[in-house]
Symmetry: C2
Subunit: 129 residues, 2 copies
Amino acid sequence: MSWLDQVNFDADGLIPVVTQEHGTGKVLMVAWMNREALRLTNESNQAVYWSRSRNKLWRKGEESGHTQIVHEIRLDCDEDVILLNVKQVGGIACHTGRHNCFFKKLENEQWRTDQPVIKNPEDIYKPLA
Amino acid sequence: MSWLDQVNFDADGLIPVVTQEHGTGKVLMVAWMNREALRLTNESNQAVYWSRSRNKLWRKGEESGHTQIVHEIRLDCDEDVILLNVKQVGGIACHTGRHNCFFKKLENEQWRTDQPVIKNPEDIYKPLA
């Protein structure tokens, strides 16, 4: 049996993926993979997700250059969540230009942003000439 | 507007939650919350999830004693994933009796378990006398 057959994809053929930064242990983002994305992630050693909004494979960094080099792939007890340990190229995982996506912290029943924008998204996602 | 109104629950009224251990940065588990679970988690300072299998609120540790003391609650850029930073009471988050749920590591296209069982699940989940 293939390692991919042991993974429990949901009714839509997807599995949630927690991506954690190697070394710092920071949780960078949560995204989704289908079987093909997971296969390609392991094969290419770079994170490939499934974009639910665009409904297609999403090679992380394909536009921004902020690719993720895979250090480790883990599966949970129920075999329905993937934990990816990566090196984040450029030090920016979030499309807002921040290090990671979890920059809103609950304080006194308010969500407060406590991470700086490292690079302006307009400078990250330049339209092709 | 309440902080709860800013959270994007999915069509089923749920949001995925990544639970990370304070101090070690280890990802302990991924579970789900509904609005009530999130409200109670903040109010009680202990993780309360929504059990999709039992279809009810799940006060983590209610049977095992392995509660999670909330250190921090974060929300991601799309406001559709929660990151919980917790102190794991008993040092066991997984129902298999392991420290965390991500004990299967992909090695040469095989999932290999690399974490010990700290306590036998039969000794954790004792039927009420």
